[in-house]
């Protein structure tokens, strides 16, 4: 043992603090605010989904060509699917029981795994549902307007590049989290 051990602990214990405090009323207010923010965020998501469904519903009605109409219907259906997934996966969540009852290492692992699962699966339920509709819409436009091949191909290329980039970034981030999860084994091993 070195002589600086007790002194550092003493220094740590005696460091100046600001006297941060929250009254019960403030805590309740913040908890209520958190719930309201979560509900508002969900409502914005649902409203956005509703608008997308309306817009692509109108496309399905007005755009020429069967493929374009069908593609618009599929985009609207994909939006409804994503909206349902958001509701199912996120919703209004309270603090998980794990946060208070679990040891720190168990909680940290659970948090890393939750984040990794989200990153691994987000492309599947947040991006992929739009692909059939977009592909069909663009293919319909490609078939219907022979003079607009280049712009349609450009849009298709940008969409494909965006989807691949998001997928790759999420896979990369998920792999980094998995590495951290694997390293947690070392904490139990010594």
């Amino acid at each position: 043992m070195t002589s600086d051990r007790p002194s550092l602990q003493k220094l740590w214990a005696n460091q100046p603090t600001e006297g941060f405090a929250m009254s019960i009323a403030e805590v309740r207010k913040q908890a209520d605010l958190f719930h309201r923010r979560t509900k508002l965020r969900n409502r914005v998501e649902y409203l956005s989904s509703f608008l997308v469904v309306v817009i692509f519903g109108l496309y399905a009605w007005y755009l020429p060509g069967l493929l374009t109409k069908l593609g618009s219907v599929l985009v609207a259906a994909g939006t409804l699917f994503v909206s349902w997934q958001l509701h199912r996966r996120i919703g209004v969540t309270d603090v998980p029981e794990l946060s208070s009852d679990a040891s720190c290492i168990a909680y940290y692992r659970a948090e890393l795994e939750r984040n990794r699962r989200a990153l691994q699966s987000i492309w599947l339920w947040y991006l992929l549902p739009f692909v059939p509709g977009l592909v069909m819409t663009l293919y319909g436009m490609y078939r219907h307007s022979p003079s607009a091949h280049l712009p349609v191909l450009a849009v298709a290329g940008i969409c494909a590049a965006f989807f691949v980039l998001v997928w790759a970034l999420n896979r990369w981030a998920a792999a980094r989290l998995q590495k951290k999860i694997d390293q947690l084994g070392e904490y139990r091993g010594d």
Binding site: M1, T2, S3, D4, R5, S7, L8, Q9, K10, L11, W12, A13, Q15, T17, E18, G19, F20, A21, M22, I24, V27, Q30, A31, F34, D94, V95, E97, L98, S99, S100, D101, A102, S103, C104, I105, A106, Y107, Y108, E111, L112, N115, A173, K180, Q183, L184, Y187, R188, G189, D190
Partner: protein
Amino acid sequence: MSGIGQDARYTEAVAEYGHALERLAQGYEADRDLRRDLLQDIHLALWRSFALFDGRCSLRTWVYRVAHNAAASYVITRRRARFETLIDLETLERADPEPGPEEMANAHQVLSKLQALIRRLKPPDAQVMLLYLEDMDAPAIGEVTGLSPGAVSVRIHRIKAILANQFQEGGPHDI
């Protein structure tokens, strides 16, 4: 637990561990405003947690678990946003001490260096270091963190070596 019991338990916990929670937040966040946000998150998590408190562990263990868990969630989100890389005790053990003792002119500088050092650590190591600095013994640290007594002992040994290396014995912080 009733709302009144929840409130009373929260008030009791803050009265007893309020300053320790601030020190804990210092070990996770350097920015003053962000630290206040973190402290607010911790207090909120603590108040909510007391709806579930059943006395299976001591109040101290419960408070530190909730607070460190809230801080770990914060670190995961923040580090991902800032693309920061955290290190473990083994890596820190191999690092050269900096700055030199001549630059460690007063207790404030020593404390700042100590806080900065903790913020570089991965959450499980930061937790052990912070609990050690709060003068908790190995079994108590094990109860909070979930690490085995052997794992805690090894980490405390490393922490002592790191502190001895980074904050040289008999320095001006020896108050």
